[in-house]
Symmetry: C2
DNA sequence: CTGAAAGCGCTTACAG
DNA sequence: CTGAAAGCGCTTACAG
């Protein structure tokens, strides 16, 4: 075909946002162009890495977008989004009902389910102040000073952040970690520094989606209602799929403070 | 419609093994009847349970079979099969190219990739006998006695099996566990019984698909070539998909003994 | 309520 | 090499 024709077609595709219909292609071509990867239930976790994650990685966002826009699915549940993730936008542009777990920022404009992080943190702090007043912590006054160290969600990162905090602010007597994993790291750092938990320093975690994180002492934590979150995501998605779309929907769920040994 | 007609149709469906074509249905119905569940890469493990596994469970084999037979996929990688799993048979009947990781029994007749478990165990035992001769183990003679305790693949089950073995055969001085997780359980049991590892008892694990199992002391293990296994599965599946099917294909991969501290 | 026709959006032979 | 037609296997209005 003539190069000019070719270019015209390509441009039309671009302008119209044409995406080929995968169902039609499957039907005419007598093939699905897809392969199933099946993990049967009880031990699917076993096969987590590195092979599986590699396969999944190899698919990539682009491949998934083609799949989703090609009409292969009616909606999308996105289980993990980062602040700079553009996938939700692309799905929204394609008018695909989409629900996120968590949100990218305070003014997320794609439907999502999240927990009340602020409320959860507030409860944790209230608890720390209350229990703290029984020990030596009242010396610092009820409000105390707040110190912040940043970490990602890994245990190692939590350990490092805690070590750093202890060096700069050895008077610290309570810690609210961003996740249980981070908290586990903090516990290690505290032990290494010879601090007792909870006698010298109280520690509170924030619910991970727990691959059975067992700490010593057992962690007090802000618990997220996982089941409810799951149900809410499904419900929201079904709503998006059957009704004409609201701009977006949001469900924020309450957390619960589970007091165990570390505070 | 007349009840007799209805029944005749249902019977024809049964006899012919009719399955409605999902691509055609999607195309005509303008909907996919499917929803995507997307876990972006780095922290997809976090969301493992319980919500995700519940969703996955809720799908179930039946639902998946419909999906697969409906022509939604051209082939299937089955990551975990149990001896009594019938899914591979149903996929084979539906003439869907299928590759299993592991096999259900010694005469598996569905294509699969597995490791040389016998060879791996042999290497482990050879190693145990060799290192054993430096310590007190040579008193038992080179071949020694072999004791077997059964467990599933959980840590707790490994702990119980080891405890049981120690009670019945306190002279035990070397252990080959069926998995790293089982080995971790065995290590706990040994510690609880006051045995030193590897001085009193040597322990060897068998590669899990490791969710970072860190043991103290670090585990000697039979390692499975995960990457190769993954590649082999994909290669086999592609072969099944493009060529006229051989009865089945098989790839058995060699293991490697990784000696660390526990032996 | 039932049955035949049109159409979903592609791919694949098949003429020109 | 290019273009028009047939067909993939369903669902969905639309007559009877």
């Amino acid at each position: 075909m003539k190069e000019s024709t070719r270019r015209a077609v390509l441009q039309a595709i671009e302008e119209l946002g044409y995406v080929s219909n995968l169902a039609a292609r499957s039907l005419a071509g007598q093939r699905a162009d897809a392969v199933a990867l099946v993990l049967t239930e009880p031990d699917w976790r076993q096969f987590a890495e590195p092979f599986f994650s590699e396969i999944v990685r190899s698919l990539g966002d682009a491949r998934f977008l083609e799949y989703a826009r090609g009409g292969r699915v009616d909606g999308v549940l996105l289980m993990s989004v980062h602040a700079d993730d553009r996938l939700p936008d692309m799905l929204a542009e394609a008018r695909l009902p989409t629900v996120l777990l968590g949100r990218r920022s305070g003014d997320e404009y794609v439907s999502h389910v999240d927990v009340d992080n602020v409320g959860g943190a507030r409860n944790a702090v209230t608890h720390l102040l209350k229990t703290g007043s029984h020990g030596h912590r009242h010396h610092h006054g009820a409000a105390g000073h707040v110190r912040v160290a940043e970490s990602d969600f890994s245990e190692e990162s939590g350990r490092r952040a805690m070590t750093e905090l202890l060096e700069r602010h050895p008077e610290i007597d309570a810690v609210l970690a961003a996740s249980d994993t981070t908290a586990a790291g903090a516990l290690h750092a505290l032990r290494a520094a010879g601090r007792r938990v909870p006698e010298d320093v109280a520690v509170i975690g924030f619910d991970d989606f727990p691959l059975a994180q067992r700490t010593e002492p057992r962690l007090t934590k802000v618990r997220q209602p996982l089941e409810q979150m799951g149900r809410a995501m499904v419900r929201l998605l079904l709503e998006e799929m059957e009704e004409q779309p609201a701009a977006w929907r949001q469900v924020i769920l309450r957390t619960e403070l589970v007091v165990r040994e570390s505070s």
